[in-house]
């Protein structure tokens, strides 16, 4: 599997230690001249000194930024969330929806008659996912300032592919998951988990810089923000 890694280069400068040793030696030669750089001053707004918004104002900022990036947003409460999910799916005309493990609150093993919940155990194939109408997940963190939803494959979120292939993604965000800015989100997240940061639906501006929502990811992102 390491094909090539230890072979010698066809050109110049072959060192006995192979490519790795040679590159490291080049770096040491190249940087041997200077004093150590000064330490990094973190005098921007860090996780410890948040923006100052909290409670309802934070949720309102999140909703504002989500809408600005063309996500659909519904407000709800933890008690009412099941009904809001049903309303969203029904309005969208979603008949078969993939559900991440652990997303359904207690008592919600079924929604309306006519809406089929498809679990991911055994794992759905990409082709099966492509045949579904949508996917329902929770999230790990939501960033108000940038309108970003972060999924980290934790409970209620499932594998990365789940929220990617279906054309409609419905996300439930609870108030406790909402932070002000990027530094607070980074501080809460575990880098060793697979992460997907989502800000609005899939989009492109590649044709004359006209924004088009929906290329390869879900073309519709709908977010239920629960207080």
């Amino acid at each position: 599997m390491r094909a090539g890694a230890d072979e010698t280069s066809g050109g110049y400068g072959e060192a006995p230690g192979g490519a790795k040793e040679e590159i490291l030696a080049r770096i040491r030669t190249a940087t041997g001249d200077g004093p150590a750089p000064p330490p990094v001053a973190r005098d921007y707004r860090t996780a410890e000194q948040p923006a100052g918004l909290d409670g309802e104002a934070l949720l309102e900022l999140l909703v504002d930024r989500l809408v600005d990036y063309r996500a659909l947003v519904r407000r709800s409460t933890t008690a009412m969330v099941a009904a809001t999910v049903v309303a969203a799916l029904t309005e969208r005309g979603v008949r078969r929806v993939a559900v991440a493990d652990g997303i359904l609150p207690q008592g919600l093993d079924r929604l309306e008659p006519g809406i089929e919940l498809v679990g991911d155990d055994p794992p759905l194939t990409p082709a099966q996912l492509d045949g579904l109408d949508g996917v329902l997940t929770g999230c790990a963190v939501a960033i108000a300032e940038t309108g970003t939803i972060v999924l980290d494959a934790g409970p209620g979120q499932g594998r990365r592919v789940l929220s990617l292939v279906p054309d409609y993604h419905l996300v439930v965000v609870t108030a406790a998951q909402v932070v002000g800015g990027v530094p607070q989100a980074v501080a809460r997240l575990d880098p060793t988990r697979p992460q997907t940061w989502i800000s609005g639906p899939s989009a492109t501006s590649d044709i004359e810089l006209d924004r088009v929502e929906g290329v390869h990811g879900p073309r519709t992102l709908e977010v239920i923000v629960c207080s």
Binding site: M1, G4, A5, S9, G11, Y12, G13, A19, K20, I23, L24, I27, R28, A30, D33, G34, P37, P38, P39, V40, A41, R42, D43, Y44, T46, A47, Y69, P126, A127, D130, G147, T148, R159, R160, L164, G181, V182, A185, V186, T192, R193, P194, T196, W197, S199, P201, S202, A203, T204, S205, D206, I207, E208, L209, D210, V212, G214, V215, H216, G217
Partner: protein, 489 residues
Amino acid sequence: MSQVFLGMPTAPPGVGHLRGRRPFPEAARTALGDAQLRRNLAKATGTIRAKRAAVVGEVPDWAELRTAGAAIKDQVLAGLDGYLVQLEEQVTARGGVVHWARDATEANRIVTGLVRAAGADEVVKVKSMATQEIGLNEALAAAGIAAWETDLAELIVQLGHDSPSHILVPAIHRNRAEIREIFLREMGKVGLPAPADLTDQPRALAEAARLHLRRKFLEAGVAISGANFAVAETGTLAVVESEGNGRMCLTLPRTLITVMGIEKLVPTWRDLEVFLQLLPRSSTGERMNPYTSMWTGVHEGDGPSEFHLVLLDNGRTATLADPQGRAALRCIRCSACLNVCPVYERTGGHAYGSVYPGPIGAVLSPQLTGVEDNASLPYASTLCGACYDVCPVAIDIPQMLVHLRSRVVDAKRDHKLPTPEQAVMAAAAYAMDSPARWTAALRAARLGRLLGGRRRKLTNLPPPLSAWTGTRDAPLPPRQSFRDWWAKR
């Protein structure tokens, strides 16, 4: 000066896309004659400039973030050997395999070998500057492997048998009518054809690309990506994108191969809190790009079961060796400097000849290849400083351009025949060396007035001075020099 960098190999010629076939002024002249291109560029760069300015203005601590971004990257460059070893340990510990490539040729050979080992004869690709730099698609094609670009703009470029002209919006030089033509003509040759009734509405064109590529995504066994960031401390890789084609490539295939320049590191996970603010706002002018994917090695049951990371030098250590040029390696490929550059706005990216166009390309390409091979690029600038102002990692591009111009002059000094510029400078030095010679020279210069014509300007001097008057007018020498006037008082 230039001998300092001897012994540090630059990116080899004959492979990849860092060198233009023509010098910048020549290529720029062709581009300037293309009215459609200039209209597209003016619209595109103007739009992104305004969006960027608005979202950067929203951030109260932008200046502090920018300073921190520069400082973090300087820290990376100063300790690059240690950080790379740390990254390799982390990626390996979490199930990935790390490969080291001294140059484009070696990187291409490693990737080709990995694709073959996976038993694939086609791959899907996420837009990546590094793989364009090394000419990976051509190397794969030579080995009988088809590489499908999946970014919409890259797809347009690939289907049009064309080359990218902007880091962020590679098909910035194409308008909707041209794109429709390309899709109708080419899609059917390589997969699902475009619908016969395709219109030139961006929405319809994007839909055609979605359908064309979806089948390729669902069937692909191997994906190739670049990386925006790699965290040394944890082995985490990050790709930022908009369309979801990146997510498709990073999640669906069994094997993922990532090719990354050795400078793309950050030391700690926390450092991403700076760059995930700086990059999207500088790049697309969004508060956050639609999708950012992060992965660390192999994640059991989620995404590729095999992950290879190819670390690429290809002239980066040569760049690192120049203390006045190495800050170019801070670059996070946002392309903000392209959009504000008065030269780029008029010539577009192709004139620069390298995959890295615009102001950052003018300082990066000559350093990666050695200044002799891109000698015209450090002059492809007015030194107005707009690029420095918008750079999210505070690369002082104007100052670096001046430094590289001196390196170009130094490199030419070794030539046997003096250049016209050197001949003129030597003649000027001789004349200025003695007051008598200088007075005589000034008097002789008055003869130049005869060449002025009706416009009272020198517009058409004979060679080698035509190199100057070909692009600018020279004023007529005065009737009387200051020294003559003084002597007569």
